[in-house]
Symmetry: D3
Subunit: 323 residues, 6 copies
Amino acid sequence: MTVVTVGEILMRLSHTALRRADGFVAHFGGAEANVAIALAGLGVQARHVTALPDHDLGQAAFDALRRYGVDPSFILRGAGRLGLYFYERGASLRPGKVIYDRAGSLFSLLPPSAYDLRGALAGADYLHMTGITPALGENARKLTLDAVRLAKEMGVKVSFDLNFRSSLWTEEDAFAFFEAILPSVDLLTASSDGLAVLGQENAGTDLKKAELAARAIAKKWGIPAVALTLRESVSANFNRLSALYLSDMVYTSRVYPVEIVDRVGGGDAFSAGLLYALLNREENPAEFAAAANAYKHTVEGDFLCVSSGEIRALMAGDVRIRR
Amino acid sequence: MTVVTVGEILMRLSHTALRRADGFVAHFGGAEANVAIALAGLGVQARHVTALPDHDLGQAAFDALRRYGVDPSFILRGAGRLGLYFYERGASLRPGKVIYDRAGSLFSLLPPSAYDLRGALAGADYLHMTGITPALGENARKLTLDAVRLAKEMGVKVSFDLNFRSSLWTEEDAFAFFEAILPSVDLLTASSDGLAVLGQENAGTDLKKAELAARAIAKKWGIPAVALTLRESVSANFNRLSALYLSDMVYTSRVYPVEIVDRVGGGDAFSAGLLYALLNREENPAEFAAAANAYKHTVEGDFLCVSSGEIRALMAGDVRIRR
Amino acid sequence: MTVVTVGEILMRLSHTALRRADGFVAHFGGAEANVAIALAGLGVQARHVTALPDHDLGQAAFDALRRYGVDPSFILRGAGRLGLYFYERGASLRPGKVIYDRAGSLFSLLPPSAYDLRGALAGADYLHMTGITPALGENARKLTLDAVRLAKEMGVKVSFDLNFRSSLWTEEDAFAFFEAILPSVDLLTASSDGLAVLGQENAGTDLKKAELAARAIAKKWGIPAVALTLRESVSANFNRLSALYLSDMVYTSRVYPVEIVDRVGGGDAFSAGLLYALLNREENPAEFAAAANAYKHTVEGDFLCVSSGEIRALMAGDVRIRR
Amino acid sequence: MTVVTVGEILMRLSHTALRRADGFVAHFGGAEANVAIALAGLGVQARHVTALPDHDLGQAAFDALRRYGVDPSFILRGAGRLGLYFYERGASLRPGKVIYDRAGSLFSLLPPSAYDLRGALAGADYLHMTGITPALGENARKLTLDAVRLAKEMGVKVSFDLNFRSSLWTEEDAFAFFEAILPSVDLLTASSDGLAVLGQENAGTDLKKAELAARAIAKKWGIPAVALTLRESVSANFNRLSALYLSDMVYTSRVYPVEIVDRVGGGDAFSAGLLYALLNREENPAEFAAAANAYKHTVEGDFLCVSSGEIRALMAGDVRIRR
Amino acid sequence: MTVVTVGEILMRLSHTALRRADGFVAHFGGAEANVAIALAGLGVQARHVTALPDHDLGQAAFDALRRYGVDPSFILRGAGRLGLYFYERGASLRPGKVIYDRAGSLFSLLPPSAYDLRGALAGADYLHMTGITPALGENARKLTLDAVRLAKEMGVKVSFDLNFRSSLWTEEDAFAFFEAILPSVDLLTASSDGLAVLGQENAGTDLKKAELAARAIAKKWGIPAVALTLRESVSANFNRLSALYLSDMVYTSRVYPVEIVDRVGGGDAFSAGLLYALLNREENPAEFAAAANAYKHTVEGDFLCVSSGEIRALMAGDVRIRR
Amino acid sequence: MTVVTVGEILMRLSHTALRRADGFVAHFGGAEANVAIALAGLGVQARHVTALPDHDLGQAAFDALRRYGVDPSFILRGAGRLGLYFYERGASLRPGKVIYDRAGSLFSLLPPSAYDLRGALAGADYLHMTGITPALGENARKLTLDAVRLAKEMGVKVSFDLNFRSSLWTEEDAFAFFEAILPSVDLLTASSDGLAVLGQENAGTDLKKAELAARAIAKKWGIPAVALTLRESVSANFNRLSALYLSDMVYTSRVYPVEIVDRVGGGDAFSAGLLYALLNREENPAEFAAAANAYKHTVEGDFLCVSSGEIRALMAGDVRIRR
């Protein structure tokens, strides 16, 4: 079982109050890389395709992937800058916030031809990409299209997470791009932001509404499988999470009430959990994916790196200390 | 729009367990200085009148005001000590606690004549002081009276926060002093502690009771405007906050459920929010002030320094991460 | 009033994510030592009997007991290793976890004859031990039996906390040992884990079920007093705690809802609170013990070190900041 | 006495090993802003002209200038990115290193016309700029020329620090630019890097060689005053620092042996010390400037913020603790 | 062997740059308490007499003494403040500095009659006090005289360290007090500051000069034993330390070149080393005391707590890692 | 080019004062693993053979190797404990110290047959082991012999670092073991400790003495190549390092004066530098190895992970900041 992910790796610099920050905690992350790392932790072969600067920080990002078992063979190195983002954790009624500082990164400047996509996709089961990459500019948009096209050509299934970031592009541009790519997608994942771009309203954790939205999308673009991450944001510290997965039938998870340690990367853990569940023919893919999402919210950093056993334990619901 | 604040600046030294502390986090604060900083952040001109030691720590306090845009021109410097307080954050059923170490501070020892109050008040809209200053001893009590008297004389409105600290003076002394000053007050703010000194019971977040209390106080001392911060302390980590503002009519805010990051300075953020709202003729001053109060509880340190837009966003209630 | 405790002291090394730990916070603790320290804080004479390595870390453990007022005169020093455990704090749906690294510790290798038990027990009111010590191997099992036997002989009451750690021994071995010792016990404390070993089901915070369990145990082994700590684990961050104490009559506490700062050592604070309450003829020993348990959950580290006044304040329920 | 500085403010992110960094300490700095802050600390009026993003980090940089007494009235705010640099402190035989991430910053993108240079220079004694600004691109180069031209026109003396950064432009481009600007300079400061661009060899701390170099430069470009910072780099932790100042006569300082706390910003402290010394007609400007340089090396962060008394104490040479 | 020390315990709050401190590291210390702790570490019975506030910080100071084995039985507790000092570590050419905030401390306000000096001195070999205590005001001055007088009466030898702090009293006042007390002193210790008060010049590490000074003092006041700590301050990071001890004959130590970790408390470690050496009839008391002094400079915090073996190892001079 | 290393990985827990440690910094290391990581950083294929517990900390050690590019395919996982050591950094005249807590580790308990040594050695150029492994007990001793024997059989050269740890075994046992293995060694590395076991005196940095020692050893045991790391320990912070390499001729390095950041792992960096130099036919292997050793002393942690370019830059001697 092998999954190939393509996308930018960023360094996140966190502080509880950006305006008063006298230092930052650093984590590496990126929607697709987070999926790769989570899959590697779950025992799935993961190859990540990206470009990283040839200085120490680029090397550190490279090391991070290697550390958690992702195959870095298809990572380019070159002169350029590493994308960054500054992150202020929210609390209670004060939402978290992000200052992106990723414009002009090496990844956003390289043309698709720079990468050995064919080599990376050889023998893979899935290609996983997200709506963030095409938002990074012309090169990245073309890279997304090329990778999806090549995957289809090589018989690799396409998983796409409909991440939408309003600070990177407009809803109109996003919709136009998504329209072009959706017919090639085998597995579509979306949260409320992505649903909005497709013209669907926020379902919160209402499974009925969610099912209607999933069916509408699947039908409109002929997508065989659609997964939705459902979230009710009670406060910046406390959310309720659920999931729906529609393929030949509808699967739903229960609602996970989560006291949040780190809000970032939940959707990526969801995608990884879903891909794992599908590759391993889990009985209820929605449950496993929702549990992975919930688990990620309890862990600091952009990615989740745990075994399937740990996710199953969370599903089982015993929160007593293990000693 | 200009507000003048007068009062002591303290250095707060925090640790989660004072008895086992091997170090402290330092913040500067003080009821009136907190109001000045919050107002400066909201775009109101703020001048703070105080006295600070001429050593590095006094300079650091001076720098802190300057950093956040408060006009420090009326700050005295001289030989003496800086008031301190040690703070242990509460958690759950264990309340936070404070060890004051402010006796003998430079501010408490200087006579009112040392300050250029007339210069500071020139052209100001409001003078804001609190019940903490008169609790600091004879000089500070006289300073409070002199400043209020001069403000009235110069046509500057008097805002007074009825803070009461039982560790600094008795309820009897406080009441006697408040009796003397209340007839000169244009805008009175109080929480349950202050209400108790005036013989009113804790209203929790009961708006009916709160209105009765406000009306009683306004009537008894002929105060044109009375604002109450309402609080239900569920645990040291979780409070419910609300507000009532009585002038020509009664304004009330909704109830904000707050997971607390830092308990200190909420009332000062309330005062600043209220003064901003009045100076800017906000539709519902109680709502803005309550939101400022709630916001402060989500931020570490003694003061709040955010734009009015950020407070309005909290009022709007969207707690999802912004990216 | 004097209580003697016998047991191993461990160094706990904590990190929020053991797999990614680049450092650890260190605390000393151990079920019985935690009780000794809590009792010393409450003003009860406490002597702790243990063995510690003669290197700097052993000295640090020795210093920790001394620091909080425990009499260290009966602590042995010698060549060997200090028991350790690594602790990952849980959050929300992710439970905390412990990696024990205590095998082969000096304490577990010494024979009972190495200790001056008779000297330690001279003049004591209670000997307090727990189910952890006999789980540490042959020597420690024999030490437990010897200490209990000697206490009975010397007229010292035996308090025993039925801690059960499935990672140290099997339920069968534990039951066999407990069977042997229970008839000598004057005061038995147990939580759901210990109840399970004795064949009783988890009562959660159901006082009816708890009373039945306590009565069954008291009757079966002829134990004059049985105390149960009752817990409902809502999440790793939030528990509800209660207690029942059965002697000549039944005492129950109210339910304390606790946002958890540190999960470790709650049961030991309970035991200390109970012993203090019994020695001081508190009206409701269950209430005091439950409050001590709840208090411990709000404090970082393995042990609780507060005065009885602070526990009474928690019982009184005022969570507002004290200044 | 007023000095105007023009230049970019960067956020420096430091770690002892960039490749393994899990977090960074943040400082604000920039060659010209460092001079402004140091001058403000010495009691000289300092205005800094720059552009900063309108997000929290830009505000933090703005706050930093304000905190230390620099007049921020001429700072532009707008959409864009803040220049960054990553810094790895050197140790012993391993030199410190810098990864610049400043391309595309707001400052580098704005045209000179965006700034109110005339307003900023009004009534000033000196304009101080450095060789870093023209290395930042076309806009910044033009800004440098415009500012210098306007200063000359308005009768403001021009101080220029011949900083050369090989990672920003080539020696040839630098030399071409310096040739154009040097005839307008009233006070030129240079270290060995700058000397090299002008074709002079590194003098180490050899005062003879240094004097020859200074005289050659002064003569060739008709510069009335030339100051050289002299340095012998024994290790990354230990340097020997000295200075020469040539105007109507030659002033030299003694050699300061310095165990280095923070290598960055020494030259800027030198420039500030020199400007202060000239504005205050110090007897030996070289000595004061060299002492400011040495002092900076003992203090963490990009800038020095001390009184002239503290610099004089360092010149006096008593290193015993003051208590 | 028992030594009684009398004096104030302070909390030291350290930061590398007081003006920019956002937090402080806390250590407890005090000239005489440092001696008590060092002696306890060396295996000498040590009783410390002082007064501490009855709040958490006072308890923390109490715990600190207990932790390191000092007998706290003669410590008073009461309402009042704890003396503090803020400490900025020096580096290279920048000296360390201290801001005292100890005025009005509980210790300085209590009369001598509050203490059980007779009980504390019972059975002691030495009373050790320093020149800091009489500098704290009338009460403390009287306490010093009373303690010395009582010691003489009870046959306890008097050890006195001629610490002089110019920020606490004048040289004239100090000299007047020292004149009164010196004839009662059995063992006098002094560094250059103390020597200056007695009219002797700084000997640096010149043993000849030091011997002359010691002999002059011994003769003038009839003191049986005089010890001098000799220091050459090369930089704030690097000193050369030596010692001379004059009794029936002259003992000198070699010169220890010390890279300084923490400058505070060196003289107290010297006093403790000297008392230990005299009580244990070490061959060369000066060598042992100088080594203790040097050792302290390599350890963070106000006091030294090591075994005599560790000091002897330092004397032996092997600096290779021990593993 | 491939090097295979075999040996235990430990977790090091560091604090500046073990007796007062309230937490530890964690690093992974181990003599042979350090060599593997350094080689991987230098671009040499490195496989490490070891056994690690199957819990999170074992996984963390596994991740650490992977992170820095070492091939972990031959690492066993199983139930057991991870070896630890506690490390107190020395300073000035106080040497660093180590408390080993590695007895009973999984690695020390497994028999040689558990490992796939043949697979690991396939195609390798060098097997590198050290004198630490045979000191860990019977299994590890046999593993050393088996690995060396198999390497000889498979035509893989044997590199052996004569590390001697007196806390793990006696000089007599070590000598007996070394006698058995030395005739099979192709490349022997030793520092003064190892030399002492072989009956050679400490050469300091005296190249003459060192050459005699190297020749004596080479001759006595018929070893084709002998390398010596030479060290003069001026203080715990400052050493002088040099090297001698004897094969067909004698190579010596210059003397590197090093201000020490981290003392641990210098010899391992030396071994890695030497193997790299030999594999790459560097002109002067001693110089490269000595520079690697010196470089390691300037970097925190157990291992060095830099490119050959960075080592060459250190050899070139320019310590000025690179920006």
